[in-house]
Amino acid sequence: MADGKDITVKEKQELTTPAEQTTPGAVFTPQVDIFETEKEITLLADIPGVKSEKLNIDLRDNILTITGDIEAVGSVAEEGVLIEYDTGRFYRQFTLSEVIDQNKIDAKLGDGVLRLTLPKVEKATPRRIAIKAT
């Protein structure tokens, strides 16, 4: 992957949901990588600024929901000089085609990147997923 090419700039994608959020504020769609091996599906998501305790991963009825809240940075005394990006909650939902073993789901968060491992197996019961900070 790292072949030394330059990263092209992309503006953060703001989400426009059909259903309005109850809490005000901007909502952004994180960029993700998803790949699958025979045993598992792995999802990598860029969620800079989200702490592990503010990250919510939810899987029920084959729908995976990732919600990450961020804390405000800086102090009130700061005045914006050049503002190129906005910050806000990260939110993204995926429908999983494979049946996932809910008890073996593993989530790691480090350097603003979430790595979610979803092992494939039968049986699906809703469960909240605990997040380990790395």
């Binding site: 992957m1 790292a2 072949d3 030394g4 090419k5 330059d6 990263i7 092209t8 700039v9 992309k10 503006e11 953060k12 960029q31 993700v32 990588d33 998803i34 790949f35 699958e36 091996t37 025979e38 599906i41 792995t42 990598l44 860029d46 969620i47 800079p48 600024g49 989200v50 702490k51 940075v73 800086g74 102090s75 005394a77 700061e78 005045e79 914006g80 000089v81 050049l82 503002i83 190129e84 990006y85 350097d111 603003g112 990147v113």
Partner: protein, 151 residues
Amino acid sequence: MIYRRLLGFPSWEFKSPFAELERMKRQMDRLMEGFGGAYQRPYAGVFPLINLTESKDSYFIRAELPGVVAGELDIQATANSVAVSGERKIPAENKDARWHRREREAGKFSRMIAMPGEIDPNKVDASLVNGILTVVVPKAEVAKPRQIAVR
């Protein structure tokens, strides 16, 4: 005008079917301007996007750099600019991985940020927490605002 059209004169207004659209676009642009610049975000076109704020004593540069490790970052400061460069590496995954999505990008980046005022390059401090880079750039003594007592 109506007479000309009725009489079948070629009217300049209908030469281009896009002329009317163009006019509408101009009008829309003018309208948008009225909203106070909310639609005109400054955009340098260079990764990473930054937010520059200032307090009385310092400037703060913030950028979202998920997946970048501190060791891959290089920050240099001069009397009036800060350069941020580095590389974002995405480690190779299992060979038999079949990809569903690949939206995250790896590669090198380099950006020069011209500071609005003079800074103290010796006291620049940078931290990278949860994928967010914060560079605290203290203003030079001469550039700090000074309270002037009125007699």
